[in-house]
Subunit: 403 residues, 2 copies
């Protein structure tokens, strides 16, 4: 057979999703009859609001036709209403609907950076920023944050030390995936000042906005003077437990930027019509949906954190947002340990899947003893899943000592 | 206000969709009460099969969760069944579900070409190839085809004259958008031989496969020896009148390539779950859906072509596939004429929207008197829409003569 032509460099360096790469091992465990607690992926178990299903079932058109490239009017207007309820007034053209927050991230990166340009990210970061940057040919420049600082941003000087003539933007994620950290006003003002001083875009991933347990997370859209620099990459996936709906948006008051978003959007024609129809009905769910959900997640966070604290040698802080805890484990190699939990360990026929830390870092060697835990199960299940981890650590380390 | 930071070069050169850019003029015409026949966009009016709606309405899960990055099993298996019915056996891992053919095109281009690499396309071509190439930083190298040759491929020598050390792939579209041309076996074998000789990928857009009126369109997946080079970019948009469903697939027997498709897919997590559930039910619609649909489109083609032939000075050939005719108009400037039809002309309160030719060419100055007509209305409406065009040409040219 003729050999295959070479693939591109970006294809060769594109990583497999570190969140998903343990999945085959988990599947094998399930096939052996082991129950697997999934703390590895941010897939909430909370029910999607019935308004979504009702709107989809009520759809009466006979043809699933192309929608407008910007998004269907009803959905865009519903987002205007949602943002107005947060005291963030937006014009209709400040919003372009995207296929999940994923497309919003990719479009935003491509619009501000040319292949070879640089974008700052704060480490650890949402692992898929890396994938989109590779596809776009953009270089991510990691700026470290530390567990002992609660993963808050470093000083302006430290950030500035990473700037080069090719830096085009900073990515922030607030509340943060994977650390659960919510940025304070002082940090947001520092980001604003840096962006204005160095004329950089601020690409702000605010997908977990509602998941803030000690006080609201502020949007970059609320920072005065940043109107031309602030871009929000938004998604309904977490807010309405709609991960498989792939409904997101890119939002900015920068006209030239939004004009580019629309042209990028035109190339891929539109986002899914039926899902937009369903999503447009969700603003009506509003606070009556969020309030009990956030109360539930607060319980889960508290339960997970409490159990983690009981593990000797485990280091973590109580995060104030999102639904993740980034913890430092008392094991030699988190990748090996996480795989071992699935292949060699079970406690009462059950085990736990984690997301190993290195996938959230760009700097080699960082995160090798850390893992992200997504507390997306109910509180008793979260407790049980962490209990399994505790027993796993004990067994794993005693095995290693014998080696 | 602080000025906005600069956008990327690719953002600045990203074209507005030429198919969609007349839309505001069309909207204004409608607001004046003018009925607009849309021959500008490939949005079929045929009803989506009820199987799609039935499956979506029957969905019982309470959470719209992330699906597998490769696609949901049921949908992938339904595509295996569909391809098997075309005598194209595919393994489960030969298929990755994409968000429309659009994502399949972008993923395929990014996997085979690095920023600065070149991909050959045959002109005129589906305009959005250009948008995806710009996003990916890839250079499209146009190879001309001619109306007088029925837009069939040029000779191997002519194609080879466009190859450089940076050429990575050829894109073909069969049946063709915008020309309606179906490639003959001799052409496909030439493409195969060139791909093997120069070790190039063949990225084959086969979205219009069923729309072949004089004999089936052959897939590159059927070309012996091309297993490592052939990539199909597929979509259900046209086949099942599901344009707003954004359901597509990228297909190849090249394992390394498909592994990259999966990793690209993991970065954006998954395609819409509910739409996949609906799409999985469509294979069952099968021939009982296609046969009357193709008969209907054949009528529409014949009606549109007949009316076009009656226009003095209009040049076109009867296309054998897709649902487009690329015609050469007896006007000075097709962009001006197409806009004028919407802003200044109506016949009995009606007018027609066309897709101007230049948007389908990368070579400046080509296509300036051509337009693409999408015969996606019923035959009497197609006739009427072309009649309006005929009267428009007469009025427009007599105005110009007076100028």
């Amino acid at each position: 057979m003729t050999p295959a032509p070479q693939l591109s460099h970006r294809a060769s360096i594109m990583p497999a999703s570190p969140i998903r790469k343990l999945v085959p091992l988990g599947d094998a465990a399930k096939q052996r009859g082991t129950h697997v607690y999934h703390l590895n992926i941010g897939q909430p178990d909370i029910e999607t609001p019935p308004e979504f299903f009702d709107a989809v079932r009520a759809y009466q058109e006979k043809v699933i036709a192309y929608g407008n490239s910007q998004g269907i009017r009803l959905f865009i207007e519903s987002l205007q209403e949602y943002y107005a309820s947060l005291s963030i007034p937006l014009a209709f053209n400040d919003i372009v609907i995207t296929t999940g927050g994923s497309e919003a991230i990719m479009f935003a990166m491509m619009a501000v950076a040319q292949p070879g340009d640089e974008i700052l990210v704060f480490e650890p970061f949402y692992t898929n920023y890396n994938g989109f940057a590779i596809m776009a040919g953009v270089t991510l420049v990691p700026v470290g944050t530390k567990a002992e600082d609660g993963f808050h941003l470093p000083s302006a000087e430290e950030i500035e030390a990473h700037l080069t003539p090719r830096t085009r933007a900073m990515v922030i994620c607030n509340p943060n995936n994977p650390t659960g950290t919510v940025l304070g006003d002082d940090e947001l003002l520092m980001v604003r000042d840096l962006a204005l001083k160095h004329n950089l875009y601020v690409l702000s991933d605010e997908v977990y906005r509602e998941f803030a347990y000690e006080g609201a997370a502020r949007s970059v859209l609320q920072l005065e003077g940043l109107e031309q620099h602030a871009v929000v990459m938004d998604s309904l996936s977490k807010r309405y437990s709609l991960c498989g709906g792939r409904m997101g948006a890119v939002i900015s008051r920068n006209r030239a930027f939004m004009e580019v978003m629309l042209r990028f959007g035109q190339a891929r024609l539109c986002s899914a019509t039926l899902e937009q129809v369903g999503a447009a009905a969700l603003v009506a769910a509003g606070a009556k949906y969020f309030d009990p959900m956030i109360a539930e997640y607060r319980q889960r966070r508290d339960a997970t954190f409490e159990e983690l604290q009981n593990i000797p040698g485990m280091l973590c802080r109580k995060p104030s947002g999102a639904f993740y805890i980034m913890a430092q484990f008392p094991v030699d190699d988190i990748e090996r340990f996480a795989a071992w939990l699935l292949t060699d360990f079970s406690d009462g026929g059950e085990t736990t899947m984690l997301a190993p830390g290195p996938g959230f870092y760009a700097t080699p060697g960082r995160g090798t003893s850390e893992a992200r835990l997504a507390y997306v199960l109910n509180a008793p299940e979260c407790r049980r899943a962490v209990e399994i981890v505790a027993r796993g650590i004990e067994a794993y380390n005693s095995l290693n000592r014998k080696d």
